[in-house]
Amino acid sequence: MFQLQRDRLQQRISGWLEKRLPLQASIKLDRNRIFIVPTWQGMLLLVVAIMILLLAINFESALNYAVAFWLMSMLWVAVHLTYRNLSGLTIAAVSGSLVEVGGTAEVTLRFSSQNKRNRGVFEVIGKPWGVVFVPMHGADAVVKLCLKASERGPVVPARFRVENRHPFGLVMAWSHVHIDVAAWAFPEAQPFARKAFGEGQDLAEDAPDDHFYSAGSEDFHSLRSYAQGDAIQRLHWPSFSRDQLVVKHFTDYQSADESIQWQQFAGLGDEERLAAIRYYAEAFFKADLPYSLSMPGVELATAKGAEQITRVRRALAEYGYV
């Protein structure tokens, strides 16, 4: 019964918050978006002030009236001072990291403002990361929030709390912001069999007529004319006798151009296909082999190295979402 009521209340509050502070890539905090209350410490100051007021009344001590009201109005001024720490603050999404499912994703936000006032230390509080302290002594500050990537796809921070008690900790000003920023999680690799399709060729033992070669040192490939800087050992002496400066050109042989294709994993579900693609891409990356990727909505040209694997990972993470 109570649980139900509490849920309903919670729902109404979050609905109200959603209206007031909708999901945005960049939020400027203003009067409508800042909440402010005295902390327990501020309330205790009020109690001390009232005790001093009692001192003033009971001992007919005129100056203590002044002290009591001084303390009380200090609380009032502290409300202004703390409010202006949040007022005019812009919270903007910057970027999100790319991680494997199960890892820790990181989103980057930027706190900025037009004036360089010292705004003290912000506390960015959210369940996944606990608390992040953001000292903001100048015009801007960069905030990195850690999130647990539990599923493939975008990893987004839920509505989180930006809090400030600076200075004196007498009042707490905060806002619940919802920033449109995402880190991306790509699937874990799973070694499903990759089957040939189309001409029925086994791609692993591809025909050697489609050689992909690159500059190397193993086998002689051809002759080309001398360019400044070529090693003298590679000079083609028979041509030299014909007054031609020609050097021998060697190559490394590589296996055929790898292509990872969506259709190679027939019979698997989408997620499994993605996991399999990841597996082969990582294997090629480890072996430093070039490969291409073809999957619905994504065509990656043949390439190799860190950039290619990042492209593949992002494509895998974003599949179905972008």
Partner: protein
């Protein structure tokens, strides 16, 4: 960078916060040191030692045994130091001990905050002891330090002192308007419950009893006894006799007050002040805390207006309770009065103990035989003092024992007011003339700046009242031995001849510069007393009515609202919540002004294109070209050194031209 959330109260303090707390604590202890046992500094040293340990890595709370042991030692120490009764001093001593020992275990923010708040409270307590301008200044310093410590405690390790000082000043200054409003508008309530306020601090002023020597010790102090402000003219200087209490009971050694202040229930009820028989003086007196019940009046009061005071038949008022705070009362006095219903007191003023001072009695009776009436008798006494080798000194030899007055009058002849007054009273009584002593003050310093008379403790005096011709008449034997004492204050009287009898400070005070400085300071203290400390609801209403006419609730509400909103605005602007619109810098201000009058610039049109277009359309192309050139110079010179006044002038001219044409 990220962390499990720890509430701020549980976070650990940083080094600078520890230092700020320690300095604040030291200052608080020092401020209280003269009112509390000095060994509390030892407790502070213990705390400082522990802080030092904590700051150098030993981040632990002290062992429980150390805390308990120091607590027991502290409590025993306070009891041994004489704070055994439940009084304010004792309460403050315990509070201070707690304040010190509590800080042994300060490690986290919560503890630091509690310590700062205790500091705030102790600042309030400090103001119970001191309420002069200097005391208020000390309290402000304590408030500032505590707030600075609060800023340090509630921030992280990036805290910088200069920044903290700025924030603290902002907070305290921003809070001043509301503080003043609260001070002015909050009603002054009567005490809510009875407080242990007895015998707080030293007891000053005239005592109930007079034993030779006690007035001499009073005379050493240049502290103010009270201040008197007259409405209208001052009485002549030789009439500045401030009546305290009367001493008419004599047991052979000690003169005692007619009414003991210990038992106010023995005071007669429904007494009246004497009727005026001469010109009147109206005045008000501000009497600082004395710890006694006696109020002081110019001789002789005929009406008085003091709270909780009872009229006594010997022409004065006494407070029902001990005077433990500064009080202000007003009175009217007359140089001569008509007395009524004095029989009882006349009889009392003839009583003498059966034995003692036999020689003096004989001397008095011999004299009685040689004069015809009482007036002549008194006159003869004055002449006798003048003709004999009597000498006024603050350091007389000791006259002790049962024949003290005889030894003085017939032997030593060295003494000050109380020797003369007591001997004369004794002689008069022996001769059958009713006489009593009056204790109070004589003289004072007139402060022109503040238009009041400051009476200092060193002006304490005792004189004689004789019942002659159906009224009490003042007879001051000191006037006979040292006539200047009536006209001059004690320090002025003794300077030059026997200045060594005065305390060092009052000797130094005679220097002209210092004396004018002390007068100046005293007038500040007086104004402080009158305007700040004695401010109450009636004063407030008085101020209000003086500027806004008759007092009405609606007016008050409007007034308070107006003040509050004004202060809100000021604080808003100060803290940057309200942003005042800024003036556009030149040349943009002029451009928009021209755009307002001649039409907007087109999309993508440059300044020069715009002005070319305008000059084609309007007359006076030269003016447009001139402005255009000026603006471009201003924009592209890359410096702010160009004076903008020429642009402004040209624009004004242009707009005027346009207006003139449109009217034509």
């Amino acid at each position: 960078m990220s962390d499990q959330y720890l509430p701020p109260a549980k976070r650990v303090l940083h080094q600078r916060a520890f230092k700020a707390l320690m300095v604040t604590q030291l200052m608080t202890v020092l401020a209280f040191l003269s009112y509390l046992p000095q060994w509390l500094l030892l407790a502070f040293c213990l705390v400082a030692f522990w802080r030092w340990r904590v700051m150098h890595g030993q981040f632990t709370a002290p062992p429980r045994t150390l805390v308990i042991l120091s607590m027991i030692l502290g409590i025993v120490g306070i009891l041994v130091s004489g704070f055994t009764r439940y009084t304010l001093d004792a309460a403050v001593a315990f509070c201070m001990l707690g304040y010190l020992l509590k800080s042994l275990e300060v490690l986290r923010r919560r503890d630091g905050v509690v310590q700062v708040y205790l500091g705030y409270f102790l600042t309030g307590v400090y103001l119970l002891y001191r309420f002069d301008p200097l005391g208020a200044l000390v309290a402000i310093v304590l408030l500032f330090l505590n707030t600075l410590a609060l800023a340090a405690v509630t921030s992280d390790a990036s805290y910088r002192l200069s920044y903290g000082i700025r924030q603290t000043s902002l907070l305290l200054l921003g809070a001043v308007p509301v503080m003043v409003a609260g001070y002015l508008f909050f009603p002054r309530l009567p005490p809510l419950w009875v407080i242990p306020n007895d015998q707080r601090g030293a007891v000053t002023g005239m005592s109930d009893e007079l034993i030779p020597g006690s007035v001499a010790s009073l005379a050493q102090s240049s502290d103010p006894a009270f201040r008197v402000a007259f409405d209208g003219e001052l009485p002549p200087r030789d009439q500045w006799y401030w009546r305290g209490n009367t001493l008419s009971q004599f047991d052979g050694r000690v003169w005692r007050a007619s009414y003991s202040e210990r038992n106010r229930f023995s005071w007669p009820r429904n007494s009246n002040l004497p009727e005026p028989a001469a010109n009147l003086y109206e005045y008000s007196i501000i009497l600082p805390k004395t710890g006694r019940k006696w109020l002081y009046f110019l001789d002789w009061p005929v009406s008085a207006n003091a709270e909780n005071a009872v009229v006594l038949p010997d022409a004065r008022l006494a407070s029902i309770a001990n005077i433990n705070a500064n009080i202000q009362y007003s009175a009217v006095s007359a140089a001569a009065v008509q007395w009524s219903a004095q029989d009882r007191f006349i009889a009392e003023s003839l009583r003498l103990p059966a034995a003692g001072n036999e020689e003096l009695r004989r001397w008095a009776l011999d004299l009685r035989a040689s004069v015809t009436n009482d007036t002549e008798y008194v006159q003869y006494l004055a002449d006798y003092i003048r003709s004999q080798d009597f000498y006024y000194t603050l350091r007389p030899p000791l006259y002790d024992g049962a024949d003290a007055m005889a030894n003085f009058w017939l032997g030593g002849q060295r003494g000050f007011c109380e020797h003369y007054a007591s001997a004369v009273t004794f002689i008069l009584r022996s001769a059958g003339i009713p006489a009593r002593m009056v204790g109070g003050y004589l003289g004072g310093v007139y402060n022109e700046r503040g238009n009041y008379i400051q009476v200092r403790q060193m002006e304490a005096h005792v004189w004689v009242e004789v019942w002659l011709n159906n009224r009490w008449q003042r007879f001051d034997p000191t006037a006979a031995v040292a006539p200047d004492r009536i006209e001059l204050n004690l320090d002025a009287l003794l300077t030059g001849t026997s200045s060594s009898e005065l305390p060092v400070f009052s000797r130094v005070q005679r220097l002209p510069l210092l004396s004018s400085l002390t007068m100046y300071w005293d007038s500040i203290t007086y104004q402080w007393q009158v305007t700040v400390l004695n401010y109450n609801n009636e004063t407030g209403v008085g101020w209000f009515e003086a500027s806004f006419g008759e007092f009405s609730p609606l007016k008050v509400v409007l007034f308070v609202l107006a003040i509050m909103s004004l202060m809100g605005l000021i604080v808003g602007v100060l803290t940057g919540v309200i942003v005042l619109p800024k003036r556009k810098p030149e040349p943009y201000a002029s451009i928009s002004k021209i755009e307002k009058h001649f039409g907007q610039r087109l999309q993508g049109e440059t300044i020069s294109q715009y002005f070319v277009r305008l000059s084609a359309k309007n007359s006076q192309p030269s003016l447009f070209t001139a402005i255009s050139q000026e603006i471009e110079k201003q924009l592209y010179s890359g410096q702010d050194i160009m004076p903008a006044s020429r642009i402004r002038m040209l624009t004004k001219e242009l707009v005027k031209e346009k207006k003139r044409k449109s009217t034509v």
